[in-house]
Symmetry: D2
Subunit: 337 residues, 4 copies
């Protein structure tokens, strides 16, 4: 941490800050510039974290230099991590695609979706059994019945399951049916849920929060990893901005940021990221071109009758095109799909 003093700070004020830091067992480095004096603090990070200096006279501001996360950081783990999800590897050379309806609605809908996405090359079946909805009056999901259908459909068509968990009490329940446990944007900083997932033995797909910074997102993953579960996959799904033409603003530079800062894989959700079906194919291509390790896409056999998110679902036919075009991009960046 660095303390920037005001231009008007007196020597007494500077000395008082210095004394306060050193009395905590930390060391200081003073740099006296033309306008301002800067005090660097060196020593045990946890001691530094508890220092409160902004109230002292003469202090302009404090600047934090280092991040608190460690386990997720590439600085401490330079090689890419590859997450094994019951045999399917995420983060390696192969691009992995997860597809299926927003919500599990019925056996018929789900089997139709599963068959078609498998045929086009998806490796995972997605679908919500627990739906976090803005209004209490909207469809909330089929719960365990939905989970059972997911497992059944996935097994029949040789797919893996990824589905959202919204309650820390449901870890065992969701683990029973799903190969990856997904944390949604609204629970991105639900630390009780993250802690519970730290004890799970299944990989976690951690979506970025509605307005979560890269740093907060990495710290959220640190909650899971520091709990003992090292299998975390990031998922960029768009952030909230002033723009209303798209449902969210898909931040593909976040893919590059995660790749720079962390060793963990990152995939892209162009469906929630844009909220517009006509953008899903180009943004899937763009996601892979940016370096993503996979995609998660909403596919519904009949989007015009979907119970939720129909406007951002692809038909099986359009999904087949998405896979073809994404494959070409994967090859152009030296990967497989």
């Amino acid at each position: 941490m660095i303390i920037v003093m005001k231009p008007s700070a007196t020597q007494e004020e500077i000395d008082r800050v210095k004394d306060k830091i050193e009395s905590s067992g930390l060391k200081t480095h003073i740099s006296t510039g033309e306008d301002v004096t800067i005090i660097g603090i060196i020593g045990d990070k946890s001691k530094i974290a508890t220092l409160e200096l902004t109230h002292l006279n003469g202090v302009e501001k404090t600047v934090h230099i280092t991040e608190k996360y460690k386990l997720v950081s590439r600085n401490f783990h330079p090689a890419d991590s590859i997450i094994d999800c019951d045999g399917i590897k995420i983060g390696g050379n192969e691009i992995v695609v997860m597809a299926g309806p927003c919500a599990v609605e019925s056996e018929e809908q789900l089997f139709e979706a599963a068959e078609s996405v498998k045929k086009s090359g998806a490796k995972f079946l997605r679908g919500g059994a627990f739906k976090p909805r803005t209004s209490p009056y909207d469809f909330q999901g089929l719960a365990e019945d939905g989970l059972k259908l997911l497992r059944k459909a996935a097994d029949k068509f040789d797919l893996k399951v990824v589905t959202e968990i919204i309650d820390q009490n449901d870890v065992e329940l969701v683990e029973k049916y799903s190969d990856i446990l997904q944390v949604g944007a609204r629970n991105a900083q639900n630390f009780q849920l993250l802690k519970a997932l730290g004890k799970s033995h299944k990989p976690v797909l951690l979506k970025r929060g509605l307005s979560e910074t890269i740093s907060e997102w990495l710290n959220a993953a640190e909650y899971i990893m520091s709990g003992g579960n090292e299998n975390v996959i990031f998922c960029e799904r768009g952030i909230r901005t002033y723009e209303t033409y798209t449902r969210n603003t898909l931040d593909l530079s976040a893919v590059c940021a995660i790749k720079n800062l962390s060793h963990l894989p990152v995939i892209v959700d162009p469906s929630h990221g844009t909220g517009r079906w006509e953008m899903i194919i180009p943004m899937s291509r763009a996601g892979i071109a940016a370096g993503a390790d996979g995609l998660i896409v909403e596919v519904h056999p009949h989007p015009e009758v979907a119970w939720s998110d129909g406007a951002q679902s692809l038909t099986p036919k359009k999904f087949a095109i998405l896979m073809d075009e994404s494959r070409k991009i994967a090859e152009a960046v030296g990967r497989k799909l």
Copy 2:
């Protein structure tokens, strides 16, 4: 809901949309404008909610006209609601102030804080026993020991308690010690927690999410009210914007918005809203001037040694000034403090 057709839409396309709507048992109204045709849909709102029309040829966009919340809406409950919190009324003529440290740290710290805020006129003692922190390595709160200290300090100095609940399994535990249950910004759309609070008999202080819209915030309150708990108090605590000089951007127009759209009370948190102690007094004055029913303020006997949020805590002495100045504003708007 309204369907806006493309300028290029053919009569066949318009008819198909019309047929689809009417086959769901809903009525349509067609307006043929100079450039575009608009189709209004009339009938059962829940049926409308499940219609998915954006995939039909010729459809430009759909526009939602009405909000889904009802119980929180002033349209259906024109008079102001006054929430009774064990004898202290929020939402009436009197401005209610809640104050205390960010986190409960020790009996000594808490009693010193409680004594001073009581002396200056606060009605509630605030303090966190469960702290949702960005990093898993930061101080996470004293848990039940913290709750016990809060109750003890509040009782000794004739204050009520308001404290945050971060886990739906803790409703009974927190109810035992606290007079108001607070939902923090990171849990603003943790619907499992909101549903659990719908079953509580204690009032809920519902903070606005980091980037929650007014509409989402009202719908979050609808989760609590539709569960059976009518005692909801909104708390504006700043939203996330591009500006970094302040920790958040305190949106005081949200106070006016809540007052227009809902019958429920709304208070302001200038401490988290700005993150800078020197702004807390002016923004407290501004909050009351904007029409808020109360304030929640961080006060720490020794902010320079606080374990969290010291930069946004007031000393007891500055808090006394805050109360004096806020009282003058309360009187200027015809209220009491």
Copy 3:
């Protein structure tokens, strides 16, 4: 400026950065922490500004410590500046209110507006003669005819004039008729216009840009002051955020920020800041309570027939209430209106 090295940086990499800085005639201070090494740079600020070090191996990031503005800064001019606008003083004890229609439409409209705002206590008549509009097909203002009407109406009712200038070629023209030259949000970083206003002898009302940071805003004022015109008044008019219920998000903490960082006055525009007439009175009260030196408010004799911005205009009757209520707040904070 401070250079933060990567945890993996070698001594050679650190030395290379150090050498590069020192070869530019600057001094360095090295702090070796537990995880990372930090290099502080001391010396001539303009030399530092031209250093580019992020490309050197081992460099994690650079952190700028000091702001570039000087003339606007309270650090270099601790006392409040009071701007004299042809006899009306802004920034002193008295709150100054500017009011009038969004656009000058006709002599009748303007005189009716001027008479009513004068009667309620406004000191300035506002009104646009040059209107920057999002669409080229919207009403663009009456130009010089509008300026003439403004002057005539103001003179008749003993008011001063404030009006927007949108073109650097119009400085002389607008100066001829107006007492304050206003820079609108869309021109907040039109540096050619700011430079031209640096040569003007009339005070400038500098609105905050749509998504301008506090720092950028202060630098924009520095353009005007460094050109020779010391009479700058800031105007907070709302920033662009994700929230759509209000037209913009009025950031009243910016009033506190400007007061902390600069000696110049700052006023508030609740009309553009909210875009909703029913919020203008409470947000005017809030602005004064936050410490603003004045208000600029849209008042139209007949808002329901206004050519622009009717939804955010007050009637003369409501403006009279605004003045009454604002006066009470002004007194509550020890000022006059």
Copy 4:
């Protein structure tokens, strides 16, 4: 436009709104729903634009249905427009790359840059002669000397020139030396400049404003087109969001949006869009994969000594890699580079 009445609106209030609209010579369509009545307005758009109805009793809100821009809209011009820039076609099958330093610094720097970008396949030399800088004390550009150097370097290496114009008085001057006139983000809604460019015979590269919506951006282009200049090229360069890890958030879904809504070409600026040189190559790939017609990239022979934006400049060697990788993506989407 549509008027949504309050649930509490009386028949008299509804009639009054209807009468007011019809007395302006417009037609109405009334839809009476379960909760609310909706009034559609049909007729001359310019008459509708001047209606102000939000002040009438019983009115909840007004909803605008159609956009005001026409010339830029794909609705009125379904085929892609291809802009001919002195022989180089933008918007056709070929991806066009513009590259060069942020600012023109010297003949040596510029010629070295021009030679290298030409060698790698760029078609345009970019470089700023007029630099809009946040601080008045930063380097402001070489002005006409810079323009001359640009022309000279471009001619020598058989490149075209694209450079920024920041002053409406400079149209003739910049036209003399440049093949494309660029409007920067800070002037995106400088309507005087846009109007002046409407009279130019050279193509305009219109960057998106810092927080400009898609709709505002299209309207800005409409200013240029309605002035008579049909040669507009959009440039997505990142928008301002809460995220600070990147300088801006590059919004590649805007590429899809422009392609859907307009017939005009759109290119991507990954340098300003991210502000981080290590992201430029992946985001260039992503931009082309999303459907962009070209790229504009900062290349500096020696970024570590650049006078501005060194952190986001590529070396010639990295730029060569960018071109190779972008070429593969172009081919994967069926285009050429």
